[in-house]
Structures are given as structure tokens and as C-alpha cells.
């Protein structure tokens, strides 16, 4: 299969995802409302002294994003299960990894919207100044989200095979993304100017993780889809 037709298929699948999501907006709206609720809850549950906020905020941001992400991932393959659409997709003459990549891109898109709304709100609610290294902060968000979503999408495909999928998905995802969570929090903290050097290693960990967990799911996705 040529790269052009691969990208074509990716586009078609993405068009389908976006069409059906923005007609009902079930997933996005739940993710948004959930994360707004968490922002508000943290706001009054964690009453912080000024000098502590910066230490805690990165963790709070990433925990919120993690749970909002899992909420969305739970629904990622639901539409494919209705009417057994997944079989319809598998029958199509294309490499099956494209199905996985399209889902990953879609999930990243949803996360990007959630982040765009909630992350600024965190700074407002906690009355914390904008990070002094915005580029680094942005990089942490992008890389962290990518690593999270590529593993998350794969595991959500795996969990959707089971009736108890929504129960087991968080249990599968969280231990596997511990390195991502840790590195992303550290990079975020660094972008607040609160670390004293040596944080390049977290960027490297995210990159290595990103490579490993892009290659493995692509190799293994065919095995998930067997009927």
C-alpha cells in the first residue's frame, strides 16, 4: 500500500470520526464538563499557600488530564461496537494500523480541546502566573498527551473487547503511563522555573517512551483485531 493511499485512508477515517463526534458531542462534552468540575473541586479542596502552588499545580494538571483522557478513551471504540462496525472496517482493503492511527489522532484532538479550555483555567483558579518558559510547557503538554493517547487508544481497543471494558481500562492505563505522568509533571514543573537543571532527561524519557509505544502498538494492533 502506497503512502498516499495510506494517508487518504487516514483522512477518510478521521473525517468519519469528526463527523460523528461533532454531531452528538457526547464524548467531548463529558470530558470538558468533567475536567471543569475537577478544576473547581481542586480549587476549594486544595487551599494552597502562594509558595506551594507551583510545586503542586503540575501534578494537579496532569492528574486531571489523565482522568479526563480516560473518560474519553472509554468511549473511543463504542461506536465501532454498535452494529459491529469494527468488522466493517477490518474488511476494508487497507492496512489495519490506519484504524488505530486515526483513533489516536482523534483522541489527541479531543484532548487538545480539553487542554485548551482547562489548562488556562487552572492558572486562573489557583491565581498562578503564566509559566516563564511557555515553549517548554507547551512541549511537555504535546509530548505527554501524545504518549498518553497512543498507549491509551491501544488499550482502549483492547479493553473494548471485553464487556467490563470501562471497569478495566483505568487499571490497564495508569500503571503503563507512570513514566509519562512522572516525566510530564517534571517538565511542567521545570517550565514554571522551579527546578534546578538536569530536566532534559525527562524530555528524553518521553521521547524514548513515545518511540517504544508507537512501534509496539503498530506491530501488535493486528492481533487485537482478529475475529
Amino acid at each position: 500500500m502506497s503512502i498516499n493511499s495510506y494517508l487518504d485512508k487516514l483522512g477518510v477515517l478521521l473525517w468519519k470520526e469528526i463527523r460523528s463526534e461533532f454531531r452528538g458531542q457526547e464524548i467531548l462534552s463529558s470530558m470538558l464538563i468533567f475536567s471543569l468540575l475537577v478544576v473547581a473541586s481542586f480549587g476549594f479542596a486544595v487551599d494552597l499557600m502562594d509558595d506551594l502552588t507551583g510545586q503542586v499545580l503540575p501534578g494537579i494538571i496532569w492528574i486531571t488530564l489523565t482522568f479526563a483522557g480516560i473518560l474519553g478513551l472509554n468511549r473511543s471504540f463504542t461506536a465501532e461496537k454498535q452494529n459491529d462496525c469494527l468488522s466493517g472496517l477490518i474488511l476494508c482493503p487497507s492496512d489495519r494500523s490506519v484504524i488505530f492511527l486515526a483513533k489516536t489522532v482523534m483522541n489527541m484532538l479531543l484532548m487538545a480541546i480539553v487542554e485548551l479550555v482547562t489548562v488556562p483555567l487552572f492558572f486562573i483558579v489557583f491565581n498562578y502566573p503564566a509559566p516563564p518558559y511557555p515553549g517548554w510547557f507547551f512541549l511537555a503538554l504535546v509530548l505527554g498527551t501524545y504518549c498518553f493517547m497512543i498507549v491509551g487508544t491501544f488499550l482502549s481497543a483492547l479493553a473494548s473487547a471485553s464487556k467490563a471494558g470501562e471497569m478495566i481500562l483505568p487499571v490497564l492505563i495508569i500503571p503503563l503511563i507512570i513514566p509519562v505522568l512522572l516525566s510530564a509533571v517534571m517538565m511542567t514543573k521545570d517550565s514554571f522555573g522551579l527546578m534546578t537543571g538536569g530536566t532534559d532527561i525527562y524530555l528524553k524519557i518521553l521521547l524514548v517512551y513515545g518511540v517504544i509505544f508507537t512501534v509496539l502498538p503498530l506491530l501488535l494492533f493486528d492481533y487485537l483485531l482478529e475475529v
Binding site: 491501544f154 464487556k163 500503571p175 492481533y223 487485537l224
Partner: protein, 230 residues
Amino acid sequence: MEKNRFTGWLEKILAWSVFLSVLLALYLALVYAPTEKTMGDIQRIFYFHVASAWIGMLAFLVVFIASICYLFTRHDKWDIYAYTSAEIGVIFTTIVLLTGPIWAKPIWGTWWTWDPRLTTTLIMWFIYIAYGKIRTSLREEEKKARLAAVFGILAFADVPVVFFAIRWWRTMHPGALVTSSGIGLAAGMRPAFFGGLLAFSLLYCYFMLLSVRIERMRAEIRALKEEILN
């Protein structure tokens, strides 16, 4: 029948060697090994703690290898190996997670520290419990085996990344505590250390043999039930 008799013998020999080597390991660890000067008797837990950690790691490596073999060959036996090894691995990592804090409290003055080894073990424990959750949440045997194998491969790839991430995090973090690598092994302690390792390795093999047999019986019962129902 011939094969059954052979495994029956193997089982008996293994059972006896487990029994003897555990006795020996207990003697070596509790009596033979000298008392550590600064830590005192509590240090003796270390022989079982480290042996369990090694066996846990070995068990998860077996899950990884058996999972790959399963996906390539689709032979049920690899699935059984992967599953039983994961189960046993969880038991041994549970021992690590229990003995670690018992040792750490008097020595480091705290039950838990985010030591890279201990933390990686904890995450591994979570990961392989999740592996078990996948299996219990699925009905169809083939699907169960296939999805578990996929997760078994993914999970093991995660372990080294977790370890390095946490090691970096700890060394960067202010006030990092002493890591367990600080413990040197005096010559007199070596027999106890290797004795423990030998006993636990044999125990692992014995558990594997028994659980594999149980799983085979289960499969047989399932097949018989299906036959009756049809």
C-alpha cells in the same frame, strides 16, 4: 501415559528438592550467616526479599517470552505458561512489597520510600494485576489468550522505562535517601544469599509445574463439559 509418569517423577523430585533447599536456605539465612553489624538481625529478611524480587522479575520475563511465543504459534501451552507465570510473579512481588517495608522501617526509619527498585516493583505489581483483570473479564478462551499476550508484551516493555524514570526522579529529587545498593555482601553472607535464590527458583519451578497441570485439567474439564452439553 509415558509422559505422565515422567512428569509425575519430575514433580516428586522437584517437591523434595524444594523442601530440602528451603530448609537449607532457612538455616543459611537465619543461623549460618553472620549478623550484620549496623542493621542487626533484621537484615536477614534481605535474603528472602531479594530472592523474591529476582523470581518476580524472572516470572514476568517468562510472561513476556511466552506471550510472544503464543502470538506466533497459537499453541495453548504458551498461554498457560504466560498465565501461570504471571500469577506466581504477582505472589512473589507481593512478598517483595511486604518484606521491603518491614526492613525499611527500622533501617531507613520509614515504611515506604520511593526507591526505584521498590517503586518499579510496585508498578509491576499493578501491571500484572491488570494482566489478570484482562483475563478474568473475558470469556472466550482464544480471545482471552490473545489479548493477554498482547498486553503481556506491552507491559514488559514498560518495566525498564518505569525503572529509569523513577531512578532519575529520585536522584534529582532533593534529599534522596540511601538506596539498597548500599548494602555490600560480606563473604559470609554469600551462601545465604545464593541459598535463598536457589530455594526460590526451585519453588518457582515447582509452582509452575503444579499450576500448569491444574490449568491443563481445567481445559480438559471444559472440553468434557462441552462434549456432554452437545
